[in-house]
């Protein structure tokens, strides 16, 4: 039979062995801290509407846990970089808001999270910049070729609509000038996202007056004046004598007004006008004038004196 002291010792021994066998070591953390988002960098800081920017997040976990990133934007989408989730590409949805906001949530392996936001400045859609190039004058009836030189700041594709003296839907067009004076060529350039620019060019239909040379003062009862008349534009001329001298000469007619296109070289036309003093007059004066088809007029003065 086991004695009292022996029994007590045996019980203590067994208890100590069992206690040692059942000891455990800690297996997990007693606390967990949220990740820390130190900065969010947006490059460029201002994004064009519908444009993109690079997002880079600087975040750490105080406990050294692995961290994960979630991105959200109110007016755009964000695509994380699969190789480096702290980086992402922001793409604006083009909805035309004045600003956006990116929210980054950083989560550790224990689901503790930290959230940070950064504003996104949005550059509104800008209209195309347009100039019209080309020869801006010609003598009717004529045409000029006009070129709309346009560029969109966002690089959007552009459409063209011409009106006025020109028609067409391409960047290049022809303006038809049928009259002397100013005609307008207008082009509407649109970028398809609300941006539009209207540009107008003034094309001038020019006309040079006929040139009549010769004439002058002669003495006597009568005299012959040798004149030359021509139109710099090559238009047809209608000529005649006006005044108080008694003049006669062949009616003058020049070449027909040319068809649209380059002006023909002017060819001076010789004209002889025979004039006499009226009876009892000591002197007289007349003008030999030519008028082109657009109303341009040129004259030469002829004077007789006894």
């Amino acid at each position: 039979m086991i004695g009292g002291r022996q029994g007590a010792r045996a019980l203590v021994l067994v208890a100590a062995v069992v206690s040692a066998c059942s000891a455990d070591r800690p297996v997990g953390p007693s606390s967990n801290r949220s990740p820390l988002v130190r900065s969010i960098t947006l490059t460029p800081p201002v994004v064009t509407v519908g444009g993109t920017a690079a997002v880079e997040v600087d975040a750490v976990d105080p406990d050294g846990d692995a961290i994960y990133f979630r991105y959200a934007a109110e007016a755009g989408t964000i695509t994380p970089d699969p190789a480096k989730p702290s980086k992402a590409i922001y793409r604006n949805d083009g909805s035309g808001r004045g600003a956006d906001r990116i929210t980054v949530t950083v989560i550790d392996t224990n689901s503790a999270e930290a959230t940070a936001t950064t504003p996104v400045g949005l550059q509104a859609n800008r209209s195309p910049e347009v100039t019209i190039a080309g020869e801006m004058r010609c003598h009717p009836k004529c045409t000029v070729t006009l070129q709309a030189v346009a560029a969109d700041p966002e690089g959007d594709p552009l459409t063209y609509v011409w009106s006025g003296c020109a028609t067409g839907t391409t960047s290049s067009t022809i303006c038809v000038v049928n009259v002397v004076g100013q005609v307008l060529a207008t082009v509407l350039v649109q970028d398809g996202r609300g941006g539009a620019t209207l540009k107008t060019a003034v094309v001038e239909g020019t006309n040079a007056a006929p040139v009549v040379t010769g004439g002058g003062l002669q003495r006597g009862e009568g005299a012959r004046f040798d004149l030359e008349a021509f139109d710099p534009d090559g238009d047809g001329l209608s000529c005649g004598v006006q005044g108080d001298c008694l003049c006669a000469g062949p009616p003058l007619s020049g070449p027909a007004s040319p068809a649209p296109g380059p002006l023909p070289s002017p060819q001076p036309l010789p004209v002889s006008v025979q004039c006499a003093l009226p009876a009892a007059a000591a002197s007289c004066a007349s003008r030999y004038c030519c008028t082109d088809v657009f109303g341009g007029q040129g004259c030469a003065v002829m004077q007789l004196s006894r």
Partner: protein, 387 residues
């Protein structure tokens, strides 16, 4: 002798490190030491000083020496459903509550062996919207059983010492999800596995007179390893490819008294000091930016009362029992600044479990039945033979 007892007590109170996590499927989890035999259940579990019953050896192995014959008992337990403070659902089920065999080995020694079902509950997390906009949903099934041997030694007249050694086995199987409508699951945590550890208790019983018995015991806590994984489809990441944590079975120190009021009436009073603080002191933070200190669960006193009235008839005796068990809050409550955690870990208030039972006793046979009400309702049936 006093030194030996002191050493044993200190060893029993030594806490293992590592315990449950703050994963939300533990939001309604609480440890309840459930009575595994019908007689113990009927007496409110106040059986530390109960003599002549092998079914009480788990509560106090020292009383094994009070057995006069070999005793074999088997008890069935049917746990009912219940609802927690936070509205989660607890589902029970049927199980073999305990199987015991005890035998005296002479005037000074007795031994016994047992297997018992300490706790078994499936907690279903009812969908509850939390302040962070997420909803938690899931369930966890936890089962704790043990099997062991016990020995008792009559050290002196009226004084008995006892030791119980057991293999405690715990299994957990569950998962929960944190979700927001229209989004992939934010967090999915799964736990599974089982583990077996040594458990033990030491006890002493003193019987200064035939009408009075005093008994105390110290039962060591145990930590059982369970596996955990976590993933976030929302993040497209595996957050925890596989880790372990420990289900904590807290230690307990109990002292009880059995008073034979008369030949027909037995009164039992017991006070337990349950070391719930062992659970809190080693909580592992696996959810959120929290600190262990934000969770509260403290050691608590739990009184137990029992009354047994025997009515002898011609060849049989009827016994009627009643009991009560004052349960302390046994679940974690959160007292930090995180509204979501505060809404998840609500803790629980003190509650009362009442019980009643009856038995038919003959010279070599006893048939017991008991019903238990309160936060963990159950009924039990048991049969015991003596020869």
């Amino acid at each position: 002798m006093r030194a030996a007892l002191g050493t044993l007590l200190l060893a029993a109170l030594a806490a293992d490190a590592g315990a449950q996590t703050n994963d939300h499927f533990f939001r309604s989890w609480r440890w309840v030491r459930e009575e595994e035999s019908a007689r113990a259940a009927g007496l409110g579990g106040a059986v530390a000083a109960l003599a002549d019953d092998a079914g009480a050896m788990r509560s106090n192995p020292a009383v094994l020496t009070s057995l006069s014959r070999v005793e074999i008992g088997a008890h069935f337990v049917r746990r009912g459903n219940a609802e927690t403070t936070g509205g989660d659902h607890l589902a029970g089920g049927g199980a073999l509550g305990s199987f015991t065999i005890g035998a005296p080995l002479g005037p000074r020694w007795a031994i016994g062996a047992y297997a018992s079902d300490i706790q078994g509950v499936r907690t279903r997390l009812e969908p509850r919207a939390l302040p962070d906009g997420l909803t938690d949903e899931g369930e966890i099934d936890v089962h704790v059983r043990d099997a062991g041997v016990a020995g008792a030694w009559r050290a002196a007249s009226g004084l008995t010492l006892g030791l119980r050694l057991a293999v405690v086995h715990a299994s957990a199987d569950g998962d929960y999800r944190r979700e927001r409508s229209g989004e992939p699951t934010h967090l999915r945590v799964e736990t599974a596995g089982g583990d077996a550890r040594l458990g033990w208790s030491v006890a002493a019983a003193w019987e200064p007179s035939a009408r009075l018995r005093l008994a105390c015991l110290a039962e060591a806590g145990t930590a059982l390893v369970v596996e955990r994984t976590a993933a976030s489809p929302w993040l497209g990441a595996t957050l925890d490819a596989g880790s372990t944590y420990r289900m904590r079975v807290p230690g307990v120190v109990s002292c009880g008294t059995a008073i034979r009021v008369s030949r027909k009436v037995l009164g039992l009073v017991q006070i337990d000091r349950v070391r719930y603080g062992e659970i809190q002191s080693v909580v592992i933070i696996r959810q959120g930016a929290e600190s262990r200190d934000d969770y509260r669960l403290e050691d608590a006193w739990e009184p137990r009362l029992g009354l047994e009235v025997s009515v002898p008839l011609h060849r049989v005796s009827l016994q009627f029992r009643a009991g009560a068990h004052g349960l302390a809050p046994g679940g974690l409550s959160y007292e930090g600044r995180d509204a979501t955690e505060e809404a998840s870990f609500l803790g629980s208030a003190r509650s009362l479990a009442w019980s009643g039972g009856a038995a038919v006793v003959t010279g070599g046979f006893r048939l017991d039945a008991a019903v238990r009400g309160g936060p963990r309702p159950a009924w039990l049936l048991g049969a015991t033979v003596r020869f």
